[in-house]
């Protein structure tokens, strides 16, 4: 798929909407489902990685300083990271704020 999915016209589709290019699910922006986003307070973070382990989307990554951040291209704002965080370093805020 050379175009992003949202740009494809009906004429661009393969027969039966077959996906002929393996592994292109990563091009799909699941982040546009999000109505809330996680905010990481690194002053409370103990770098345990529980948020990374529990994230169902696999979108939390550790940065060079060892802190964790969510990739908002994929983050659906489910809030599991905030719920599991032992030190309450993650808060979930509405997208419009």
């Amino acid at each position: 798929m050379t175009n992003p999915e949202g740009m494809l016209t009906w004429k661009d589709l393969e027969i039966g909407s077959i996906v002929a290019e393996p592994g292109n699910a990563s091009q799909y922006q699941t982040g546009d489902w999000r109505s809330e986003r996680p905010i990481f307070d690194n002053s409370k973070c103990i770098k345990c990685g529980i948020c990374y382990i529990f994230c169902p989307e696999g979108c939390i990554e550790q940065n060079a300083e060892g802190y964790f951040e969510a990739n908002l291209f994929y983050c659906k704002g489910c809030g599991i990271c905030a719920r599991e965080c032992w030190t309450r370093a993650i808060t979930i805020v509405p997208e419009e704020e």
Binding site: E5, E14, I15, S17, Y28
Partner: protein, 391 residues
């Protein structure tokens, strides 16, 4: 040189599938379709057809297995009827959306309740919008011929769609008729091997039947609609080619004494042959009546219908299904909608009859035509007429 033999129509369908050299048959027996898949099971067991026969636990599984088989590029066949077609329902949409050319004969049967194994078109009409090409047949020869055509149409690169061949349960499925079978070499010539362009293949992986979020779903549906519309041309070409090869021609709308007829009756399936007897008799009596038979149900033959009825004053449509709380018969309502924008059109009168295996005799068709003419003159406060219900 073709071979003519007296044979049960269901068994003849099995023979047609053998001649088509199907690779996979996945089916669940259900009356009045059982003899079709029973004969195919015999052919496979006896080594007369080199195919995988997959016995499944339900029609839902039968159609699902057919999807998998078709997805790897296998020539795939199944058959069902009535409740079985209903149980397949959700998978039927998947076959057409995924563009998998599964071929299926449906021995048309009434739907429960009350339980009825006898024929009508309730099952056909319930799957009207599933995106399959659908063809009505009137006799055993037509079923055999159209099974062969269905493989060629469905598997054509320009089509790649599943095809349903409708035959009336019992009235057609269980009768013994003289049928001409072409030679294997003639069928091989007419029907090229199935070459699905993007099959499931480990050396070239593809994903089929994926998730379609709002940003792409509508595009997939429009592509499907455009494709089904485009299939018209291929269907006509195939029937034309079939006619040239085997001297039996088929069209989306078949006409019988309709050219000069003031009053036309429209039927589909095996009842058309009985209706012809009524037309013959009325013609002998000097009446200007004719018959139109709907062969292609999807894609709907708008142009051919308009052309066939344009000189008539009255068009009587007999449906063998009820749309409860609706406009009567589904075929009649579609015919009306096809004619709505025409400047010159016949008055369309809808009848519903022949439900659950109830016969309509030639005298019955004559009664329907006479009653239709009466309504066209006097009007009626009903959306449609019923024929044959005891008061």
């Amino acid at each position: 040189m073709a071979t003519k033999m007296g044979i049960e129509v269901s068994v003849a369908i099995g023979e047609a599938v053998r001649l088509a050299n199907a690779d996979v048959i996945a089916a669940y027996p259900i009356t009045p379709q059982t003899h079709i898949v029973e004969h195919l099971a015999e052919l496979v067991a006896n080594g007369e057809l080199d195919a995988q026969y997959i016995p499944v636990e339900s029609e839902h599984s039968a159609m699902s297995a057919c999807l998998g088989a078709s997805a790897v590029g296998a020539r795939t066949f199944t058959a069902t009827a009535g409740q079985g077609l209903e149980l397949m329902h959700e998978v039927l949409y998947v076959a057409s959306s995924m563009r998998l050319p599964v071929i299926m004969t449906v021995a048309n049967r009434a739907l429960s309740a009350p339980l009825s194994v006898w024929g009508d078109h309730s099952d056909v009409m319930a799957v009207r919008d599933v995106g399959w090409i659908q063809i009505f047949t009137e006799n055993g020869q037509e079923v055999v011929d159209n099974v062969l055509c269905a493989f060629r149409i469905g598997e054509d690169r320009r089509v790649l769609l599943p095809v349903m061949i409708h035959l009336d349960g019992f009235h057609l499925s269980h009768v013994i008729e003289p049928i001409l079978f072409p030679e294997q070499s003639e069928v091989d010539q007419f029907l090229p091997p199935n070459q699905y362009p993007l099959p499931l293949d480990p050396s070239k992986p593809v994903s089929m039947g994926d998730f379609g979020p709002p940003i792409i779903y509508f595009e997939t549906k429009w592509a499907q609609e455009v494709n089904l519309e485009a299939a018209r041309e291929v269907i006509l070409q195939c029937w034309n080619e079939f006619g040239k090869t085997f001297q039996r021609y088929y069209s989306p709308v078949e006409c019988y004494h309709s050219e000069d007829a003031k009053v036309l009756l429209l039927t589909m399936g095996s009842f058309s042959e009985t209706a012809m007897m009524a037309i013959d008799k009325m013609r002998r009596d000097g009446r200007e009546v004719g018959l139109i038979r709907l062969r292609l149900w999807r894609p709907f033959p708008f142009g051919e219908i308009r052309q066939a009825v344009k000189n008539a004053e009255v068009l009587i449509v007999l449906d063998r299904a009820l749309s409860f709380g609706g406009p009567g018969g589904p075929v009649c309502s579609e015919v009306k909608s096809a004619l709505y924008g025409e400047d010159k059109k016949p008055r369309v009168i809808g009848f519903v009859g022949g439900l659950g295996g109830r016969d309509i005799t030639p005298a019955g068709f004559e009664e329907i035509i006479n009653r239709g003419i009466e309504i066209s003159q006097k009007g009626s406060d009903q959306e449609f007429e019923i024929f044959g219900v005891r008061e």
